[in-house]
């Protein structure tokens, strides 16, 4: 692929990142803090991943992410057990597996973190900028605990930028959300403190972007396997000093790896981009790619966390800045905007192909993928692969079928190497295929 890769050909694959130990400590401390907050009767809010968390951190409210918990259930391979509890209570197996897993854990008050489920919320915050499902899911949890729920309605943004009246609508609700937080926690929001937290979010995002930038090197110093796990702090601790400190370390380590031409796949034959949430219950699938010379150099999912950035000028109006940023998140924008972001990744990371995880659980993420695949093929000339799976429910995934399709896809990529990149094809698990 490049001279860089040839130089690295004899090098052994880089092992796990050194900062993984820090990550484990950091996330352990985060969840330990969550359980301590519960014991000490400090306010806990269950919050969606796309909701503005900064006011919560500024007010000393502990945010808890049931989506992150759903991913943990998947990665620890206990998701199916909890999904079945929810299904037994009437929740259709067609529903989001994060929701079913977390609802099952909530109903049984069991879970993998300390034997119990997540500590009960004092209030719940849900932003409808990632899907409709979270609103329904949060309603279920609020009813279960009889706790107040705030829904932030964020209108769809087909084309950027969002229209002024849409931002006004969000802004009005953000003011209301802060009043809601103050009412239910009896704490006051300090605006200077909010600005400080937003500055931390911006710093975190800048470091995250720096980390992603190092993956432009060949070999890539990190793969999707590293990034899916390392995104946990930017989801749960965005806005905190801890997140800034952690990503400073991660950036330094990846910088060093890039300079030394180290990476998980030193003999990098195929550079790939991943679209959609990880298959948490089968992260080893990434190693299957690695063993065949393929590495993921970018993911739309991890890339999406690079969006929460607030310039000093914008911070003169922090509420307005949040209204704008939280309206333009990946799953709230039109497919053309998503495609533009994906094409940019493909170009920036010099991708050889794009793998679409057709994720049965996440309709919002998945249902534009046929359009995106066509765009990738037509505008970048890259082959695409569809893997049909589910982010947390292993019952909706067939490993052997996926691997057969991966093998076929990699053969196509190999053929293109020989043919100078002339062939475009698309490969999909299961029958049929998108109109690509």
């Amino acid at each position: 692929m490049t001279a860089d890769r040839t130089a690295a050909a004899a090098v052994k694959p880089a092992g796990r990142l050194k900062v993984d130990a820090d990550l484990k400590r950091l996330m352990g401390k985060y969840y330990s803090g969550v359980f301590w907050a519960h014991r000490l009767r400090r306010p806990i809010a269950w919050i969606t991943s796309g909701a503005p968390v900064e006011p919560l951190y500024a007010m000393g409210i502990t945010p808890v992410y049931p989506e992150n918990y759903g991913a943990i259930l998947g990665a620890r391979k206990v998701s199916a057990e909890f999904c079945e509890i929810a299904e037994g209570a009437g929740y259709s197996r067609d529903l989001c597996s994060y929701a079913r897993g977390s609802i099952g854990s909530m109903m049984a008050d069991r879970g993998p973190l300390n034997g119990h489920g997540l500590p009960a919320p004092d209030l719940l915050i849900c932003a409808k900028n990632i899907c409709n499902v979270v609103v329904k899911w949060w309603e279920v949890m609020a009813r279960h605990y009889h706790k107040p729920l705030f829904v932030l309605d964020v209108p769809y943004v087909p084309e950027e930028p969002a229209k002024p009246h849409q931002l006004d609508f969000v802004r009005g609700q953000l003011d209301e959300m802060i009043a809601f937080l103050e009412k239910h926690t009896r704490r006051r929001l300090s605006h200077p403190r909010l600005v400080r937290v937003l500055e931390n979010s911006t710093a975190t995002v800048a470091l995250w972007e720096e980390v992603q930038g190092y993956r432009r090197a060949s070999p890539s110093p990190a793969s999707a396997l590293d990034m899916f796990t390392n995104m946990a702090p930017i989801v749960t601790l965005r806005g905190t000093d801890e997140a800034v400190g952690y990503y400073r370390k991660l950036a330094a380590e990846l910088k060093g790896r890039a300079e030394r031409h180290e990476g998980p796949v030193p003999d990098e034959r195929y550079r790939l981009v991943w679209d959609n949430i990880a298959i948490w219950h089968n992260l080893r699938l990434m190693k299957y790619f690695h063993e065949r010379g393929a590495v993921f150099v970018g993911e739309s999912y991890t890339n999406a966390w690079g969006e929460y950035t607030f310039s000093p000028d914008e911070l003169k109006d922090p509420i307005g800045a949040m209204a704008r940023q939280y309206s333009g998140v990946l799953l709230n924008v039109g497919p053309e905007v998503r495609l533009a972001r994906l094409l940019k990744m493909g170009r920036d990371y010099r991708a050889d192909g794009v793998v679409f995880h057709s994720n049965r659980s996440c309709k919002t993420y998945s249902l534009s993928q046929y359009f995106l695949a066509r765009g990738v093929q037509d505008r970048l000339g890259l082959p695409t692969l569809f893997i049909e799976a589910d982010m947390a429910d292993p019952r909706a995934y067939a490993d052997a079928v996926a691997k057969t399709r991966i093998d076929a896809f990699l053969e196509i990529l190999e053929g293109r190497r020989g043919a100078g990149g002339a062939t475009v094809d698309s490969t999909r698990t299961g029958g049929g295929g998108p109109a690509c």
Partner: protein
Amino acid sequence: MDEDIARLVAELTAVYEGRRAYLAGAARFKAAGYRGTIGYFCTYAPEELILAAGFHPVRIVAEPGMVGPVDGHLQSFACSFARGCLDQALRRVYEGFDGVVFPATCDSLRTAAEVWRRHVPQRFFHFMNFPARLDAPGAEAFAAREMADLAEALGVASGMDAAGVLARLPGTAALTAEIRGLLARLWELRLTRARPPLTGAEALSVFLAGVVMERREYRDQLARLVAKVEALGMDGTGTAPTRLVVTGGVIEDPATIRLIEDAGAVVVGDDLCTGTRAFLTAGPGAGGGPSAGPGGVPADLGGLARLYLTKVPCPTKHPIDRRVETLLDTAKRGRAAGVVFLLQKFCETHAFDQPYLASRLTAAGLPSLVLEVEQGRLTEGQASTRLGAFLEMIAGRREVASGNGGEQR
């Protein structure tokens, strides 16, 4: 059934069943002064504005059956209603339409809208955002502004300006209010009479005709039907079948309701997108239920926004209390013995609400049954068996109740 009523119902049913031929009769609409036809989705699209712009509004519903071209655009786990509608459009069923209006509702329909925008060749496309949170501060202003944008776009498409569209709004709003009032009255008669004057399947046909027909023609036909039913006085003779209420999303095929009724029941009320949710409004804070009615006549965009914000909400909206209260009230006033959930396959919002609704119904002493509708149809044999068992269970409860010396309700 009274002969006049049967004839009126049959005429309306024929319009819906023969809708392709009906809509192909362009001369009918030109003679009525329309500039063209615009399709719309969902009960949150303000058809008053489509009418005010001089277009004939037609609700898009899927036709039952297998799908084809949509497989190239949406995965099989997308909502089966969204897939079915999009499939028809891709097969150019709506070729004669001038365009379409999609209001913001669910994730699947939002994606279907984007596919429609790119792949269905029509001169007009409009996606109208609408609050998901009905009680948000600024919801009314936001909805009104989105409706103003729609009015402006429709004005451009029709060759008149937005002011021209808005000038006609009071007239078209009065027409739709009349229709809502007539439907509400007819549904009330079905709900409260000991022997419902129309079966649930017939009522659904009557409703569905109204999203296809020229609206003044429909209003007149509906008024005749309501007058006949009012005059009938069908209370209290013979053995009444088991009274049921159905709840769910879009039911586009009256055969679905007929299947339930053929099992030995009569559907006396509903909580459907193709039913009460299209014409019943509950004032804010009124708690739904008895106060649910057809709503007033909005005079301007603010009034129109308020009308739609106070509709009995569908599950894509928050909060859902008014929906829950209205369903419970419908079942109570209709003296229903049970409720049947008709869930579109992969409709997430309805599926999320179902266990909660079922628990509330159980607490009110009402058993419920879940049936899944895929590509517009129930799986006939399986559904009939389950319905049979459900009705037997209800009969058993009645026997136990009467053995204890009293009616269950």
